[in-house]
Amino acid sequence: MKFANTRQAMAWLHTWLGLIFGFVLMICFFFGALSVFDREIDRWAIPDTRFDPQPMPSFDNVLIDVFNRTEPDIAEYNRLMPVYHDSAAGDITPRTELPADEYWAYTTHRDPVLLMGIGFRVPKPLNTKEHNHIHGRATIDPRSGEELPSNSLKIGSDWFYPLHYSLNLNWNFIGFYIVGIAAFFMLVALVSGVWIHRKIFREFFTFRREKKTQRATLDLHNMSGVVALPFHFFFALTGLIIFAAFYYLPVTNTMLKPLHDMHETMEANATGLPHQRLGITAQIASVDDMVTEAKRRWAARDMAGEVGFLMVHHVGDANSYVSIYRAGSDRVSLVGEGIHFKSSNGEVLREDPPHSTAKSIAEFLTGLHLQHFEHWFLRWLYVLGGLLGCVCIATGFIFFTEKRKQQHAKNNSQGSRIVDAFAITTVTGIIIAAVSMLVANRILPADLANKGDWEKWIFCIALSFSFLHATLRSSPVVRGEKNPAWREQCFIITALAITAVTANWLTTGDHLIKTIFTTPYWAVAGVDLSLLAVAATSWKAAARLQSESIEKEQSSSEAAYE
């Protein structure tokens, strides 16, 4: 590759990296924007949980019973037990007889339901140095301690949210790596994009919609990229930082493993929090008293707050301790001011000290991405930032094909036809998939076995449908014209979004007048209103594309008469 100057090289880089990784980034930005309101989408999808957020319930009266009856996950047991168990030491322990090693419970200011988990230990492990945990999970109504039906899927926090960082491709963490690489090249595309942009300040506010598609699209691409540049940059960067230590550069668990293990032991010594079980059985004292004491200590430090995360380590052992963390809803940084208690007598073992500057910066950066704070206005601004990212990527695709399709038509090349079909799948297709999933959620019977899996399948089928449709309808692109699938899929989105709102009303009785005025419930009202906004926008886009194509037909038929 030879370039006349740096700018040309940068343009090449921007074009091709943007194109290849744009398809992935589109999913990250769109479903990332939806994840800002993941809990609210959960409420919409699971009508039984449409009640107000609850504080952490009593451990002694509610949580302990749930922990006692929760079993290890069947699939995880079948997958991991043969790996962890030392068959030379004796028979494999049956699933329901695994002893618990740790308990945790987690809630936020937006959660009516409580998420709980157990790490079960393997009594005869092959590798005694590892934790060897097999997990069990439960989501409960904190008011009654009753478990949510297991067939319901939290569409927001268990499908859209992981989709934006893992594409829900969990085999060997392949999705995490694809997203990580895409995020890295997003940073490259941002830098090269700024480099090749001739008039950043002079065209900062410029969108000439009356110009022809190629020019207007480039204007919109530049504007959506530049005005939200800090957002795009920091979200790609912090997204990488959050996963860096776990997946992308796991040196502490691979190359530096001995150092890592030594650090764990030293930390245990320094903090006085036992690293291992002692092997002596012990009872647990009242955790509710520990919670009261933790709240008193936070209040004394002028940071009164609720419990966000509670964890019991080494359950049932003399070395057991309880860690209680504060819900960080009033700040950006993701810190918990953890206070740790000895389980057997409730004595305070340790209070986490304030963090060093480096640690605080890291916590600010991860906190600004994970947004545990309570700030509804900023949440909406984040949605806007995410959608501006989508606009930027989508207009990038359109500019790519607009610039090339006449040339490709002359050379009889299929290039822009293929790119255009992929663009349709990742622009209108992902919206169709997301809304289809919501429609399916409301239409499928509530007691259907594995209802959540059906919903996932419908998401995938809808996305494949969009791709097939876009491909089958793509022949006009070869003649340098628009693919009618853009317009048709916009109509489909409109129909689906209206169906979703109507189905919500019919199946739950929660219509907008009720959720906004008579008994306000903003989580559901917000999802409904957003769906209506989507319906209106896609209707407008479809109508515009329709009138354009009719005009074109008329002018070409007039030309034929002359």
Binding site: R202, F204, F205, T206, F207, R208, R209, M223, S224, V227, A228, P230, F231, D330, R331, V332, S333, F364, L368, F373, H375, F377, L378, L381, Y382, L384, G385, L388
Partner: protein
């Protein structure tokens, strides 16, 4: 809405006005709104001052770490809004093109 949250309202308005002035400081956009030429330096000064004032309002509303994020995101939202207004209904910004911001005024 608690007491300090009210400060977000002036923060939003100031940021929109600021972005409007910065846009009008560019002759091309000024021409979309009214005839003549803009007093660009004066408009830019006004625009940046409004951005700073908006930052102060954000600081009144929230803890500093949160305020930084609100302020940056508000900038993006306001800039995009002004861009779209200039594209669809530029004359909505006429009230920002006060006489003192026109070039003739200086002479």
């Amino acid at each position: 809405m608690n007491n300090s949250t009210v400060w977000l309202i002036p923060a939003i308005i100031l940021m929109l006005v600021a972005m409007g002035w910065l846009a009008l400081s560019l002759p091309g956009h000024w021409k979309q709104v009214r005839s003549g030429k803009p007093a660009s330096r004066r408009l830019r000064l006004a625009g940046w001052s409004a951005i700073v004032l908006s930052a102060l309002c954000c600081l009144k509303a929230d803890h500093a770490t949160m305020a930084v994020l609100v302020w940056l995101m508000l900038m993006a939202a306001a800039a995009a809004s002004v861009g779209m207004i200039l594209s669809m209904r530029p004359r909505m910004l006429k009230w920002l093109s006060l006489g003192i911001f026109a070039e003739e005024f200086r002479r």
